[in-house]
Homo-oligomer: 143 residues x 2
Amino acid sequence: MEEGTSNSPSDCCSTDRDYDIHQWDAREDCEVRQILDRIADKWSLLVIALLEKRTLRFTELRKSIDGISQRMLTTTLRQLERDGLIERTVYPVVPPRVDYALTELGCTLHETIKALVVWTETNQAKIISARRSYDERASEKLW
Amino acid sequence: MEEGTSNSPSDCCSTDRDYDIHQWDAREDCEVRQILDRIADKWSLLVIALLEKRTLRFTELRKSIDGISQRMLTTTLRQLERDGLIERTVYPVVPPRVDYALTELGCTLHETIKALVVWTETNQAKIISARRSYDERASEKLW
DNA sequence: ATCCTCGGTTCCCTATTGTAACCAAGGCTG
DNA sequence: CAGCCTTGGTTACAATAGGGAACCGAGGAT
């Protein structure tokens, strides 16, 4: 009744109670998901990766992260600071000098982020070839 | 000359050659960065986390991932499939049945993603309290 | 007096994402 | 046999996030 009743290939695992597999992503307002959204972010990832080496100034970050806009760098840094992952130090000088450094918490996060980066570096060839064959198959189907 | 010459706190580390700290994020079109952008994505992360447990159908994924739109689920799944991280199996039945499963490559990625999720679960209390104190400090400064 | 620096903020416009409606194809219901 | 149901999408349009560029403030250098 719920399945494709006549000819579905295997009617074995489709009752409703199976849906709550993970609890942490059940509700959209789940804290863990909110935090993941912030951490697993294009720019946050790069900022944390860069700050692991050493403290950097605003402009150093901007130059290091090719393609980031000043607006997004500011926003990203503020969010990371709010989450206690980086520390912002303002020196009352002119022109202003602002240093950004990983906090202890940020350092622990860097460990897992590094694992992600390493995984990507290790497997990038596989992914690129997967894309190539996918695109080939897709263009074949057009004919 | 380059620094705040008169009264900057520590003129020790600001020559230009220091900027190329990581090579993998030097150029925006870097493959690793492109792949990271795709992987470290709000929805991709959740899809991979869910598929680790078992193969799921399109509708099961949609129900499991609260807040995802049908359009974004489709898009996300296509990208993951293209990258060789998940496998899409279409059964020629009516109504259609489409199963999604992690590939071997996807499984290896899941390991590192799980580390990220575990980190988040472990440290969410710290982050939440960091946010609270940040917000308090911010509201104080308004007065 | 004017220009320069750094670390932003603001404005405007484009690009990505969400919302909702529609679709195909065949089985089931009346 | 007409019309409705199902799943797994696609399409058109609205909202929101992000990029680009201009501007700013404070004081030192020219």
